[in-house]
Symmetry: D2
Subunit: 293 residues, 4 copies
């Protein structure tokens, strides 16, 4: 099978490799001449047989534009798959726009990070049954071996929605483990916190892949001295909390995890300035933090 792949960054590049290992013929396009297989999107489209399948693996900021370009280049019956971290609310718009020329659309959430090349990528796809079937060889190439790792989650938008919720859960899980680690490090009752985490990898209720990764991180740096306590957020955590708020679903741990990241991103916390200012006002302190009475 032939597939066009637009976007050869860290994820796209590895995905091209995994597809090729599975025997697919991949034509990749990227603005970076060092990694691209073709000089242009137009050339990429020309190199594919119909019905053409083009997988878009790009940052959300440029997806609109690329899908517009593909709309001009592709023909009726072709299929565009948005595999990037796009917001699920964009999917219906993209599907409708492409449908004006009879081009089909599937959204696909992808999880796996740098481990995907070897372990396979988890895929959550949204779209019509026939479009999913057309792309199935690609999904089969990318997904992990075994019975898990791919799901047809529902109509257009459902793939990115499922991936968004996946990431919301991920935020909560990471924060919970991190709190536990901080508590053990701070209490200093446990002699070797890394060894405790390592021991938890079998037999416990909390064993998981993230736990394995924590031990890897602690093996590299036992007290994380070289790591700054700064955690970026990719957008999907925000969308998850916003979606939950819109739906009236309480998500206290997801929100707590997101807010912890927000705080980590601040040089100084405006809200805590105000809390300190109020304390100064009723405590009679000078106008800066002093003894905290």
């Amino acid at each position: 099978m032939h597939v066009g792949l637009v976007g050869l960054g860290k994820m796209g590049n590895n995905m091209r490799e995994r597809m090729r290992r599975a025997g697919l013929t991949v034509v990749g396009y990227d603005r970076n001449p060092e990694v691209t297989d073709t000089a242009s999107l137009a050339e990429l489209v020309q190199k594919l047989d119909g019905p053409r399948v083009v997988w878009v693996m790009l940052p959300i900021q440029v997806v609109d534009q690329v899908i517009d370009e593909l709309k001009g280049l592709l023909a009726e019956g072709d299929l565009v798959i948005d595999g990037g971290n796009s917001k699920w609310t964009n999917d219906a718009r993209h599907a409708q726009s492409l449908a004006e020329k009879g081009i089909h659309f599937v959204d696909c959430g992808v999880s796996g990070g740098v481990w995907g090349l070897e372990n396979g990528y988890a895929l959550m796809a949204g779209g019509d049954e026939a479009d999913i079937a057309l792309a199935q060889p690609i999904f089969d190439a990318l997904k992990p071996e075994g019975e898990y790792g791919f799901v047809h989650a529902g109509e257009v938008g459902a793939g990115h929605f499922a991936k968004m919720v996946h990431n919301g859960i991920e935020y909560g899980l990471m924060q919970a483990y991190a709190e536990g680690w901080e508590l053990l490090e701070t209490a200093q009752l446990v002699t070797n916190v890394r060894d405790v985490f390592n021991s938890w990898r079998e037999g416990t209720v909390i064993r998981s892949w993230l736990l394995d990764l924590m031990v890897r991180a602690l093996d590299e740096d036992p007290h994380l001295d070289t790591i700054e306590g700064y955690a970026a957020d990719s957008g999907e955590g925000r969308w998850t909390v916003n979606a939950a708020v819109d739906l009236g679903v309480p998500v206290p741990t997801m929100a707590a995890a997101l807010f912890a990241r927000f705080t980590s991103q601040q040089e100084d916390s405006p809200s805590m300035k105000m809390v300190a200012a109020m304390r100064n006002q009723f405590g009679g302190h000078a106008m800066k933090a002093d003894d905290g009475n």
Copy 2:
């Protein structure tokens, strides 16, 4: 009426003044020779008529010792009032110890800060009816004019418990206002955030004394540029959350406010180091915070 007052720090000193303005005869003792009225606790006790009433206004760390000393100096029928920020769970122990010599005990939570001298102090007292009655002239001297500001909250311990919950509520209120202020400052839709807060002081649902103080703080420093985003916590916020946990009472805003202070007290956040480390592990980043992908 005569009253002994042990502890003439920022709070005790003002309280002595307010009692004297109300016509009480106050004998104060403090280790600081510049503020004390007597050379020793023993001398303070000698200067009082029986039944003697001694108000203790000290940091929690030294209360045990001072109450022990008073137990040795006072006699049957005398009354000790602990007005400091003591933990309510200590009160029964102090009451029992003093009762061995027939000395009575009342605990009293005090709120008001530096404004108490002029506005009066809010008082929440715990103890037997007769002991409260004996101390009533002191309460009347300290409390604000009007019908509010004093309550006999219950038996020994109830005063400090009520004050503890007061402070737990205070944490939540301050955090909520502070979040709103940060949101207005960050959004930059509102031209003058101070003016908005000022306007809220009448007619709104959220008008309060804390709001008045916020405007005072913003009048001194409109964007709090001179204030560090560091908020100490006095212990009572911690006790409140712990008491709620022990009782199975959900207190999400109190806990959130307390945790925000904890975070503000950290140079760097260990838990966010771990979140960052996990992201590095699955995202394939170098072992320090980089572009946040």
Copy 3:
């Protein structure tokens, strides 16, 4: 001054009364024939002198339609004020649409509830200086006496944004007080919780109008036995959290308060079903809640 007032529900009706008491000539319109002054919007517009000022006080669901109708009826130089609980993101759209006919627009957040008639309404207005000046007699009629209660918060949208944040703060404050009340009620150390709250109305750090209202509520029903633990949310709390998330502002207490309301609105909690199901799986319980081991 003449003013048209569209929407005579609980809020609008009281506002008409307060404006009239202040000497304004108010022409009100409502679909409810029992309260309306005119038979139609068109008639209302005819009864006003130019430049006409029309205050819209309607549920968000019908504001779009009414502003469209007013656009057809009003003329260049007239002014529409949206005083309802509209989302601030709608304001620019309304302003632009009306501007096509030279009609001006001001948004105004209104706080005060049923107490506004007597105490005055707090008003947060967004719009051009000249438009605010034109409407100032109305603001002066509605606002509380004294120096507080009205603010020109910024350009179009700033009024509703400020009101939205006001409500977000309100959610947090209410939740914090409510948690404190639950804690006192549950601990049963304090003999009379109502009396403690009442005593807090002067001298404390947490004195506020909401605290006064709590005492009123407890006077009517000391343990709130007749009240169901169900708290609706009006939309503004949701918008506040969503705005904070979009801006990267941590709002843990606002979110906690919102989620507590969400939970209170559920018959049974799906997420807690899943927590229980997981416990059953690893604890070996039968597939329903049993002894909670």
Copy 4:
């Protein structure tokens, strides 16, 4: 090796079985005559060779008493292991009491639930090196095969402390997954939520044993219709949050998870009654929940 095992409930019974499968000679005692091997604690002690090792696997409420009894029955050089869900702060007390007779003490947190019999139990032990070495054959019998599942966490108390933090993390993880599930169920964009969870079992960042259990639960009851949204809490979640508060460690997701369980345990929420009552007061509603305006 011989080992005495006190407490043959769900956990203890399975642990006896796993020890016996590993070739250990286990003498079990339980008040329940149907499962006990001996008529009394005294008889159990008599059947063991010295140095005797007695593993206590009992609810926290009866541990004090049983350790007192064992203190009377055992001799210098014997070893007591507390493997139950005891609070880590009790361990030093038990160790000191037993040490008065030269009896040694080890605390051991045990995780694994009903799956431990087949998969092995994760063990976190606290105590002196020599005592751990004495008990190592028991740990080896109970732990999972492979390199993980056992850790000597530190001195006495460290085992239960590590287990406590494990459970705190567990609370956070379960809540995060549960929120994600509720969000997917509520949004109804995903056609088959169970299939999405199932697909996540490989390739995703959030794959874990708890995720496997969720799929098992959904296979038994796809929408958890037969499960009540009631989640008990075992005590360790409370201790974790309390320990974090005492240490000044922010644990927002652990606390949120704990509070969600508290709320699930309430018939009606007192705090939400108060929120509703306040809304009634300023909104002018009748004194019961009505339309939520």
